[in-house]
Point group: C2
Chain length 265, copies 2
Amino acid sequence: MAKAEQSDGTVGKALNVLDQVAGFGHPVRFRELLASSDYPKATLYRLLQTLVQQRMLTFDAERQTYSPGVRLVRLAHHAWQQSSLAPVARPYLDALSRSIGETVHLAQLDHSQVLYVDKRNANVPVEMFSQAGKVGPVYCTGVGKAMLAWSRIDDQTRIIEQQSFHRFTDNTLTSRRALRAELDIICSRGFAFDNEEHEPGIICVALPILSEGGRVLGGLSVTSTTARHSLDSLAALVPQLKTTVGQISEDAENWLFPEQSKTHA
Amino acid sequence: MAKAEQSDGTVGKALNVLDQVAGFGHPVRFRELLASSDYPKATLYRLLQTLVQQRMLTFDAERQTYSPGVRLVRLAHHAWQQSSLAPVARPYLDALSRSIGETVHLAQLDHSQVLYVDKRNANVPVEMFSQAGKVGPVYCTGVGKAMLAWSRIDDQTRIIEQQSFHRFTDNTLTSRRALRAELDIICSRGFAFDNEEHEPGIICVALPILSEGGRVLGGLSVTSTTARHSLDSLAALVPQLKTTVGQISEDAENWLFPEQSKTHA
DNA sequence: AAATTAAGTTTCACATAGTGGAACAAATTT
DNA sequence: AAATTTGTTCCACTATGTGAAACTTAATTT
């Protein structure tokens, strides 16, 4: 019983394969997939066929490669619209971005990772999906730590357990102990910083977006560079962020927001 | 044998259910799903459970409703990035949009429908996913007709067969005959119009994006209103569109583009 | 060009995984 | 409190998926 992963039934296997293909980040051949797959040849082959037939994967007959299929884009549109904070938050993000003029991120938790669901960039027009749908680590991003700090204790424990604590920079927190201490500080301070913990020269302030009941709905952050801002000058933006967060959570409350599905155990 | 739909195996069924939930456009209860489902109670119930467990669906325990899950957003990011024209086309769309100042759409074909994969809106900042991931009809949109006109004959036939020909406006083409005639005109003219066929007051010009081999990769359109433009003044933009389309298809060629998976027979 | 190796596809005896009618439980309505 | 509707579980049955091995096709090597 080496693997206690989630893997229920054929559907689970198929979705694993889908993730695997998506994870490669480029069109991938059968051989490559097989090498990094737990499933035997014939099984993997059949799963791929099924996914292609279902248009969840695209198969390039010439190059014999698999890529994630466009059907996903369509499904995701619905998901984004119905199950993310983005549609509700949009006008407030616009306003905040206009007023602050720095990059603004809206994120949610997905499976122990930070999932960015929207973004405003003062300069460049916008980057669409290229940013929405991206994932990042929880333990070394502002939104990640902010959301984690206010999560229910059991979720928090589980998520902390699943972090890799890879050292991206000199400032990256690289132990559960250090992260827990940081979360305490964040809680009492009321917001989180990212002090060049993920990328050198990049800093940010982040607040959690909470429901009335105190449940974590998402996170909101303003990102800048050490050239333009200090942590203190970012902290000065917190009141504005507070306002935006308040507006979003109030609207979300009315929009009858679906509960994050609880993972078993 | 009323339904000759695609429905292979458990995975197919699960994905059908996923589509069904997404299609509702709002959180939906078991009862509602059951009413419009082909599957028996217990089966549907199990499929839903599996999808929730896999985080493809989100279940709101309080309201007892299902919605598409955020995991889809993450997967779609990969799909959009790898299997759509959007990343390649981005800089050219930016340039075109800046130069023309009207709404620009980038679309691809997905399962007999138009799937919008990117968009530029001159005025409003941008609408993200709210547009990327949206689908539209083939027979009454500029991009749809443009892509269809240059499709391989067997694809064309199949797609025409699957259109609903719902009448949106007085100008909507409402028969296969009318559509085929229009496609001929489009081919000889070299580009397609949408002459208020989908929405009153909205017109557009569209060109297909073709690979070197002549395969349809996608479509590009400029949309405007009858207040600001006539078909003739839109036609004047075609040279610019031609340039953009050329740039995109050239880049796409190099980016080693995956083949649209062929549907069985 | 023939031989060798590797990549991709198909087969088939086998059993796991999914099926769905029906009984049951919980929540709503009368 | 009885009746009705909605959601969950059971379990005998079998359709679906399994995977080692055989086979075909393509790519390399001799």
